[in-house]
């Protein structure tokens, strides 16, 4: 295992790096939430952000698809590039960016519409389907990828809000993948779920890795260890340590990381 990750890291070249953040600073009014963060996120890999509450990991995640734009007082400085393109370039339309960088939120938030409409909404507004048959196909594919197809195929027109929490979250993942993003951001996707649903979602994340670059924020270090290949540890707005998950959890370099993963801070 160790060797494999080692290999991954040594083999990583410019092409493999999906997202590169350089000197990112985020301010909420006068409060600096993120201080000078540099991160490289590789393609077809799960990167986990861990750290105590309020350390800025979610804030940083929301910078990647510019969801922070919706917060008036939020200001982002620095440079975040996806495939070498600056996402904060004035020419970038955040709407287009978000189609490329999908997001799954902490609390399952299906639209109060049918399961079908939940998944079909993204493809519809982006014009991914030319007709009903194509849309049906996209919806089925997305629901299959979300590992929820078998559970909902007979009730596609039932309201999405009527599903259980775990099913709702998988529906949200299906909704996110329906627009065929290249990157999938997940903000504590399992924090509202029970262990069984969590296991299902984690399994799903592992499968998604084959097609997407996944970034997951999590409070659970076990989860980070289970699902991710790379881990970034945030503390008080700083990126303290970033490296292979294995290394972070077994042999951290920074004493703060060690304190956190051994349960002394956080």
């Amino acid at each position: 295992m160790e060797d494999m990750y080692q290999m991954d890291r040594t083999m990583s070249t410019e092409q493999d790096i999906k997202i590169r953040a350089n000197g990112v600073q985020v301010y909420y009014a006068d409060n600096q939430a993120i201080k000078d963060v540099d991160v490289e996120i590789q393609d077809k890999m799960v990167t986990a952000f861990i750290g105590p509450s309020g350390c800025g990991k979610s804030t940083f995640l929301r910078c990647i698809n510019r969801m922070n734009d919706t917060i008036d007082i939020c200001r982002v400085e620095g440079d975040i590039r996806i495939d070498g393109e600056d996402i904060y370039d004035p020419r970038v339309d955040p709407v287009q960016l978000r189609a490329k960088v999908g997001m799954v939120f902490q609390k399952p938030n299906p639209f109060p519409k049918s399961i079908y409409d939940n998944v079909a909404y993204g493809p519809k507004i982006h014009g991914l389907a030319r007709n009903k048959a194509e849309l049906d196909e996209i919806v089925e594919k997305a629901l299959r990828r979300g590992a929820i197809w078998d559970e909902v195929k007979d009730r596609l027109h039932a309201p999405g809000t009527g599903l259980s929490g775990g099913q709702q979250q998988r529906l949200c993942i299906a909704r996110a993948v329906a627009t065929e993003p290249e990157v999938l951001l997940m903000d504590e996707p399992c924090s509202a779920l029970d262990p069984i649903a969590t296991a299902q979602v984690e399994e799903l994340i592992d499968e998604l890795r084959q097609n997407y670059s996944v970034v997951i924020v999590t409070h659970s270090m076990q989860q980070a260890a289970r699902v991710s290949q790379r881990t970034a540890f945030f503390h008080l707005g700083n990126l303290v340590e970033f490296g292979d998950t294995d290394k972070i959890f077994t042999n951290p370099e920074d004493p703060r990381t060690e304190s956190y993963i051994s349960g002394r801070i956080g």
Binding site: T70, D72, Y121, I125
Partner: protein, 447 residues
Amino acid sequence: MTDATHGTPLRNKGKSILEVDARTKKRNAAEARFKGYGIAAIGISLFFLVSLLIAIISNGIPAFTQTFVNVEVELLEEKLDKNGNRDIADIKKVSTFGYKPLIENAMVKAAEGIETELSDKDLSKILSASAAAILRDYVIANPDQIGETVEFRLLTSSRVDGYMKGRVVREDLARDKNLDAAHLDLIDVMVERGAVERVFNWDFITGSDASESRPEQAGIGVSMLGSFFMMLVVLVLALPIGVAASIYLEEFAPQNRFTDLIEVNISNLAAVPSIVFGILGLAVFIQFAHLPQSAPIVGGLTLTLMTLPTIVISTRASLKAVPPSIRDAALGVGASKMQAIFHHVLPLAMPGILTGTIIGLAQALGETAPLLLIGMVGYIATNYPEGVTSGFLDPNSAMPAQIYEWAKRADPAFYERAWGGIIVLLVFLLTMNLIAIILRRRFERRW
């Protein structure tokens, strides 16, 4: 009440939970008292509501029936068409005064065989002053009937009507110039004969206002139409403008001093006395924009100004109440801000918006004060507007203004009509609410 024993385990150690301690008793008593206050408050409100409803219904219901006399009138040719050539111009020359003798004759015939001390001339005092006009209208419409004997159903005077409804009693007539106790005796006999009867009064619902001397003829129909047209104007203007303004303020506007100022002012506007809006309407729409006075369009515009803050405030509140996770979800799949709002946020806020709108409309429907200033409290005796545009532009009144007018007049018969008008107003309002509830159901069912 487990909390009572929860905080201090040591002190209560050994105490049985089967016995309620003094502190718990006190709290339970406080709770029981509070419940009592609540029930009393609801009881008092219910009592007032019920007494109000009883008062309105018992006072207003008589307005929906009216006393009529069935008489056979001989349309004498020598009175109506002396030349005998049925020339409509000549027939029109005969004023209502010329019909008086016909009515007198008819009444004498109707009272035939009844012993009465009244002179032949006094008999027709039973009838409404509108009788002659009704006859004249009929003759002008059917000139070929001249010379025939036609059966008419004529309104009785408001006093006779009041007698039939128990409002007027014989003792009241001692100083009455128009009616004697002898008239009432006559009425009693005619009721027995079936010539005088009290029937449902459609004219009250469809008719127009009448002069002060003939309350029996007055109806609320025309002012109901005025109110309807005003509500249409308010709905068409206030809903889209209010919702658009709210969406902009809530979702798009930057947070700065200017928007703060607008927000404060909207809240203040909602609390401005409605008569101020009346002055504004008068100054802006009539004196500056030269829109026709007393027209529902002006009334509607003025009430729109009054309704807008209500709609804006409730719309913003319901937009705010939509969970942010829905916005995030929509933005997360790449919807634009507007798509997120129109596809997801607005449908969820719709029930709240409709509630606010109906509150605003109900307020506007019942508003009288601003209408005073733009001249919508007039005596409107026209019948239904000919077309839709004239409905908006012709002078009209509104239901609350009409009720106010009637309540102002001296004759108790108008008083009865004011109560009846309130019933019609409430039914109108309930219908509006019903439509809103049905619409809200629709919106809720869509997801």
